[in-house]
């Protein structure tokens, strides 16, 4: 009898998670919280108006690759919202989503983008304007570890691309430039947020290289008085892809809600919330409206310069890859 009661309690405990209906779990990376904090209520309201149903939205935040791995290992995410396609590709290789996931939504499933910019101390004492300035002796640069953070990876690729595309640029010159920049990195933090803490709170370094939207967040949090944002002449286009996790939504029966949740990102309202959070919207009209807040930067996509993310990861960030070679030789 007692045993049965215990089993009952156990079953209730185990299944409590599953029973909650019409709820979506959005697994994301840690800096996206501010955006979804504004976006979720807007979506819930629109969805209620359209269907009369209420959806609750749960969120999970952490380092991007770690989050993707958790989903691959069974974290029941209805949707995954990351900052680089390779993290979602991981789910495709594990059979949770089809390989053509990116073609299921507009703009290759990228509702908004960002780019990599420089934060320098007030007055820009080291006259940092371009990627080459980061490799100059005496300039300390804060970049998170490209092996563990999407932020660091985009920075690395932006510098590499700038090295390739400079007048007379070549593979060897790009490598020399990236090597020079990483020579100037005093601490290699694990993620974007840790790098920000190093730069802003511990006051280490002359330049922090990070996403544009993160830079704006820092300005809100720490005030604009102590630093300036410098836009390099050429940078990388950081794409933030989203996807429905088919295996989860089919089991939970939440595909309809999950699809609507992601589609709403492309609505005027969704795009406006993105722009308000300093993410560059895809919608032309919304982009026009927020024109003043996004200075023009010439950008290139990772695919256009490096082929695919799989190729990038294999060549640059795998164990013994180019990053390991240049970083161990510092």
């Amino acid at each position: 009898m007692k045993l049965r009661a215990f089993a009952g309690v156990l079953a209730a405990l185990l299944s409590a998670h599953v029973l909650a209906d019409a709820s979506l779990l959005n697994v994301s990376y840690d800096v996206m919280r501010d955006f979804y904090k504004d976006y979720n209520p807007a979506f819930q309201k629109a969805y209620k108006a359209k269907t009369g149903e209420t959806v609750t939205i749960q969120q999970s935040h952490g380092g991007s690759s770690k989050q993707a791995l958790s989903v691959a290992n069974g974290l029941a995410a209805d949707v995954i919202t990351m900052n680089q396609a390779s993290d979602i590709d991981l789910l495709a290789t594990r059979g949770l989503i089809p390989a053509n996931w990116s073609s299921r939504l507009p703009n290759a499933s990228v509702p908004f983008t960002s780019t990599t910019v420089f934060l320098v101390r007030k007055g820009n004492p080291h006259k940092v304007r371009d990627w080459n300035d980061l490799a100059k002796p005496g300039v300390q640069v804060i970049i998170p570890n490209p092996k563990t953070s999407g932020n660091g990876r985009y920075t690395y690729l932006a510098a590499w691309g700038a090295g390739l595309k400079q007048p007379g640029g070549s593979e060897a010159k790009a490598r020399a430039l990236v090597t020079g920049i990483f020579k100037n990195v005093p601490v290699l933090d694990g993620g974007g947020r840790a790098a920000t803490t190093t730069f802003m709170q511990r006051q280490i370094g002359d330049v922090l290289v990070t996403f544009e939207n993160e830079a704006e967040l820092i300005a809100r949090e720490f005030g604009r008085g102590s630093f300036e944002i410098v836009y390099p002449p050429l940078s990388v286009l950081a794409e933030n892809p989203v996807a429905i996790v088919d295996k989860v939504v089919d089991k939970k029966g939440s595909r309809k809600q999950a699809e609507d949740y992601l589609r709403f990102l492309w609505s005027t309202e969704g795009q406006t919330i993105a722009a308000q959070n300093y993410l560059r919207p895809q919608d032309k009209a919304v982009a026009q409206k927020f024109d003043a807040q996004f200075p023009y930067v010439k950008t290139f996509t990772v695919q256009s310069v490096f082929g695919s993310w799989a190729a990038v990861n294999q060549k640059h960030f795998a164990d013994g890859g180019v990053f390991d070679q240049i970083y161990s030789k510092r």
């Binding site: 405990l13 779990l25 919280r33 749960q58 935040h61 989050q67 691959a72 290992n73 069974g74």
Partner: protein, 292 residues
């Protein structure tokens, strides 16, 4: 007053000062820092950071996992210590080593072990998922990880105590006709109760403060699978410093209370051990005196 030290007075003072400065810099100052960061923007913000739904759910989950881990490990620990201290059997040293395993492996590895065991790509994990049971990235996984990392505390505390006390009193009880359960309740338990309490306090402190193993199996679902330490990390990463340090101060308070109770128990334990040595010595003397 007789002292055992031979160093001159300035040397002694200098050494004491170094120790005190060290304690202040590395223990007291960070602790004060936590409370200062939490409170420097006012009580209002401090309290609202603690009653916010996600914080409340983190507190609740922390209490739940401690409430499951502590009793379980209390029973396991007593049983293991009893078996090891009182009986000789094959594989005893292996069992002793196994009990220490959770101390030896890094908590992160412990968490990964559960992922390897219950992950969606494993036999057990996919079977459970097909039956609608979520173990990792849900409450059960967090409880499992907590039980695992806190496993050794009670047993580790009791084994030396029970070995030093010996089995004499229990043997006497059994000779006098007590049943096994009576012996345990009336002889063993009173003898080990302070040591047991000490083990339980340590278990509880670790269960509430555990970060590494729980972080791996949590999935970080806000308001659902975050414990207080995980909640602190997330808030800190979001620049919500008041919230982060408010929750951190809760853990620090818990640590201070634990420390206080621990010292109290330690003091009682010490006295009890002295009493028991005294008792044994007396008994021996009486036995010797009784001999012709």
């Amino acid at each position: 007053m007789a002292t055992l030290t031979t160093e001159s007075r300035p040397v002694r003072y200098a050494l004491t000062a170094v120790a005190l400065v060290f304690l202040f810099l590395f223990l007291l100052l960070p602790l004060i820092g936590v409370f200062w960061e939490a409170l420097h923007k006012g009580w209002q913000l401090y309290l609202s950071a603690l009653v916010e739904p996600e914080a409340l759910s983190a507190i609740k989950l922390t209490l739940i996992s401690a409430a499951i881990a502590v009793p379980l490990n209390l029973v396991f620990g007593v049983a293991a210590a009893w078996a090891i201290a009182r009986f000789e059997f094959r594989g005893k040293s292996l069992l002793t080593t196994l009990i220490d395993l959770p101390f030896a492996v890094s908590p992160v590895v412990a968490g990964l072990m559960f992922i390897l065991l219950f992950g969606a790509n494993t036999v057990a994990g996919s079977w459970l998922q097909d039956h609608g049971l979520q173990v990792i990235f849900a409450v059960p996984g967090i409880v499992l990880a907590t039980v695992f990392v806190t496993f050794p505390f009670v047993a580790r505390e009791l084994i030396p105590l029970m070995q030093s006390q010996g089995a004499d009193e229990e043997q006497a009880a059994i000779v006098l006709g007590a049943s096994g359960w009576q012996t345990f309740r009336k002889v063993t338990l009173p003898n080990i109760k302070w040591g047991l309490l000490y083990g339980v306090i340590l278990t509880n402190a670790r269960a509430m403060g555990e970060f590494g193993a729980v972080s791996v199996v949590s999935g970080h679902i806000r308001g659902e699978t975050n414990t207080i330490p995980l909640h602190v990390e997330i808030l800190y990463n979001e620049y919500n410093f008041v919230g982060a340090f408010a929750c951190a101060s809760l853990l620090a308070l818990l640590a201070l209370v634990t420390l206080l109770v621990k010292s109290l128990v330690e003091w009682r334990l010490h006295r009890q051990q002295q009493a028991s040595t005294l008792r044994t010595a007396e008994a021996r003397m009486q036995a010797q005196a009784a001999q012709p």
